[in-house]
Point group: C2
Chain length 550, copies 2
């Protein structure tokens, strides 16, 4: 089992030093610390295990070290900055792992890239040594790139010439769309195995600053201080510890957290994720919120849901459909949510809401069919109601169910559904749902706080189907069986196209265009065949290519 | 050899009836008329040959029948509207053909979709019978869809449930982004093999109009007349004949047109396309232009270049790099171009310019490395200068070449480079090149009409490399050999990502996200393996799927 939970004491590949409002993050990959056997993580190359630690650092930086205004990304390796994703790992990994690995690393890069604008926590990159492939993609996700001018340190995207794959962790997209490197220079850069160094790297906009080697430390310190000075919350704020999640595996078919349960039906290919709303009232003051810390429902549920999704992605690839259910008291959930919304000036309240944005985005790009079931007694409201619109379709119970004493199914919208939780396309899920029909968004917004039963929900076009208790079980069973009979690949492609209508952003381009092309290449014999580049790398044999263009 | 040239007398699959300013286009596919052996084109299913005729019709409609204001797309088959792309053809085709086939059909649909807004020639679709898959994608590209309410006629995108592939000819994108079908309903629709008919098709926005069967003919006529009334040029305009192209194949390694030459180097994997600028002056009046018709240089060169590109795409898949060269007199070319630009009120002048837009877009999405060589005596100006910015990189000769009496290499910009020829992202190629730096576009614009030699061109960032005659041949040879050593797949993916920075449109989404996912699926065993859906279709065997999600 791949576990996404870790903590600083267990890090093998990264080291963080804190100095006032600046943190320095040293990448120093343990060669022998690969997640799987069969490869050494030489030259600061990375695998999923390295990235799980990085994701943990980025997350803890926000919650445990909120006073940090700049994170300087550096290498702890004496010679190289980072050689990118480990090639032997990629060569040995199956297709699904390659794809999931890239998705997770992309999510982590997006997360630290957003930390500056969202939380005043800017990542800057100080490059000494060779910074290649995934290494340069780490740099590209930073707000500022310093390169030392020592005659050898360089940046490179050698994937195409060296490995016959793409710089798939946002590299191509950030080169053109973020750094706005001229496309012909980008073509030259991305087909030059040895990369670019010195003045040319600066002239081509591949780095922001070229620094004489003798001034590299000083300049990096100065730049870190400048970025940190932008962080409004610097000084005086204290983080909260992210305690280990309460997670158990009572049997092979279920996983239990404190607010989230997963029930697996491997024959049917479904996972049912049930989220339990809060039991009690929200904290009664900001002090109480900070004291509660990671145990407050809104943060606990987000962390557990996040972990549940990652678990399913990597450890349960046979699951094709994820069903979302909720239970609990809508009023209690609304009280918790409102408390945070009304206190966003507090860094922790703000961070918890930002985290929900990330968790929901992670759900959006999860390549499983996503279905919400609104049953009697359910608790889809506000942030949990957002799941209804993240899903590919939503079934809602219509009227009371015989012999079921729980309250009739209803859900509620809140301010959370109309702004704070944008998708990757920068629209809310309701704006995306009602693309070009803002009046339908407004019509839904007018219902904030109402208990919406199935007839109203249908009229407002907020659900896909309403079913009464006679049809409920059979119809859903039939749907799940049918869905399970379709090709998983066709469903992945279909869902990736239907979920993100409307405007595109760098983020949608990375998960859409770039990822889809990379996935295609990850299937092509020229990359992954027996004589393809990934297998041939390091073997002494030259890759054999079918030269025909497609 | 696949030939993209055809003419009405040779059509086997389509019939056009003209009535005043309305044309009715009947799809009536000849079952025995497949382009390749091994399949029958049953139920109005289509292959590339059917689409080549459609592309010819769409092109001739603009030039030969400019008075037509509405084209009604209908079926000539007694039972079905269209069953989409032929499955046995897809099952038997190699990967490259599938991909190229989809690209060409997409281009044709984009072309007739744009005919209304651009030329007042609106395509509307009148559906009777089953309209499935690629058939419904034809409808989706129309401006208006009428469906008869006869209890059986329907629209469907059954690709996912039936064939384990995507509706890849724009279907998914147009459903969400053009027709703005709600994403959950789109999910239901695209996973329902039997499609949707009657009121539900209307309610879900899958069609624009549901018509009682008894009123179908009358309503279709009325709608056609309404759309035709919008066409400002209706009545009084006379088309020009698109004569067969003058094309010869003097030997296995070259193709010659009147203004375009292709020289193939199959060992090196390159095709050199040389475009010869006009010899004489432009027509001296609009009457002269219309009399010259298809023989006028601007139209002739566009048609020949278009055919050359398609020829290379389908018949020369071993060619990885296309080199563009030009020869001729820049002044003469500018005179021809200016004549059209200044007379755009004339439909023919306008159409010729629109055609150049399409040809250049076709070049943009051609998955070969594109390189422009600006040599002494070259004629890159205006519309031909646009090739410099369509290419992945541009090499320019620096200074006089010893023993070469031709004029020193220089090129010129014109108004054509600053508006009339947008890319699929709706920006000009120079705006895309200088994304986020409008001052660089303005700086180039200030040079309109100047002969730009290499130093100025470098300063304006309009070329990639300037090389003097000592380096020219060796450097380019080296580059071509290196390019030829890279994986063609990685290059296709890289170029598809680097070429289209900036905003996305429905068109870029179709060629980017949708196509990339479809290409991925076209490689997946669940679709194309021995027990995959495409092979199993019609065999009586059920497809066997690996249920693991990627």
């Amino acid at each position: 089992m791949i576990d996404f939970q870790t903590e600083p004491e267990n890090y093998r590949h990264w080291r963080v030093e804190y100095d006032g409002n600046v943190a320095t993050l040293f990448m120093d990959v343990d060669e022998a610390g690969g997640l799987f056997p069969g490869y050494d993580l030489k030259l600061n190359s990375y695998d999923l295990g390295v990235d799980i630690e990085l994701a943990d650092i980025v997350q803890r930086m926000r919650f445990e070290h909120p006073a940090i205004g700049t994170v300087v990304l550096r290498s702890g390796h004496p010679k190289v900055f980072c050689a990118g994703a480990n090639i032997r790992m990629l060569g040995g990994a199956d297709h699904a792992h390659k794809v999931n690995f890239c998705k997770f690393t992309n999510e982590t890069r997006n997360t630290f890239e957003a930390a500056g604008p969202e939380s005043g926590q800017s990542y800057i990159c100080a490059i000494r040594g060779s910074c290649a492939g995934g290494g340069y993609e780490l740099a590209l996700a930073c707000e500022h790139i310093l390169l030392t001018d020592d005659g050898s340190s360089n940046v490179a995207l050698p994937e195409v010439p060296l490995l016959a794959v793409l710089p798939g962790t946002g590299g191509l997209t950030r080169v053109t769309d973020k750094r706005r490197v001229r496309r012909d220079l980008a073509d030259v850069f991305c087909s030059t195995e040895e990369g670019v160094r010195g003045k040319r790297a600066l002239d081509w906009k591949l780095v922001d600053e070229l620094v004489p080697n003798s001034k590299f430390e000083e300049t990096t310190r100065n730049r870190a201080a400048e970025f940190a000075a932008r962080n409004a919350k610097s000084g005086g704020v204290t983080g909260i510890p992210l305690d280990p999640l309460a997670r158990t595996f009572p049997d092979g078919g279920s996983i239990t957290y404190s607010t989230v349960e997963i029930a697996l039906d491997r024959d049917l290919g479904t996972a049912t994720i049930t989220i339990h709303g809060p039991d009690g009232a929200p904290p009664d003051s900001m002090t109480a919120l900070h004291t509660a810390g990671a145990s407050t429902w809104m943060l606990r549920a987000a962390r557990e849901l996040d972990d549940a999704i990652l678990h399913l992605r990597f450890n349960e690839t046979g699951i094709g459909v994820v069903l979302f259910k909720t239970t609990g008291d809508i009023g209690a959930l609304m009280a918790h949510e409102t408390f945070l919304l009304e206190n966003q000036a507090d860094w922790l309240a703000h961070e918890i809401l930002l985290y929900w944005k990330r968790v929901l985005k992670r759900i959006d790009v999860t390549s499983r069919s996503l279905v919400a079931l609104v049953e009697p007694g359910s608790c889809f409201a506000g942030v949990l109601a957002e799941l209804l619109f993240a899903c590919d379709r939503t079934y809602m119970a219509d009227g009371p169910f015989e012999g079921d004493n729980r309250p009739e199914a209803a859900f509620s919208l809140s301010a959370m559904n109309f702004g704070p939780l944008p998708m990757a396309n920068d629209l809310t899920r309701l704006e995306t749902r009602f693309l070009g029909a803002p009046e339908k968004v407004a019509r839904a917004q007018a219902q904030i706080g109402e208990a919406l039963k199935s007839h109203t929900a249908e009229r407002l076009e907020l659900i896909t189907f309403a079913l009464d208790d006679i049809d409920w079980h059979d119809e859903i069973r039939l749907f799940l069986e049918e869905r399970g009979s379709f090709s998983p690949d066709a469903l992945s492609g279909m869902e990736a196209n239907l979920r993100f209508a409307g405007p595109e952003t760098m983020e949608t381009r990375i998960f859409g265009r770039l990822t889809a092309w990379q996935n295609w290449i990850f299937q092509r014999p020229n990359a992954v065949g027996e004589t393809g580049a990934l297998q041939s790398y390091g073997s002494g044999n030259r890759a054999q290519f079918d030269r025909r263009r497609v």
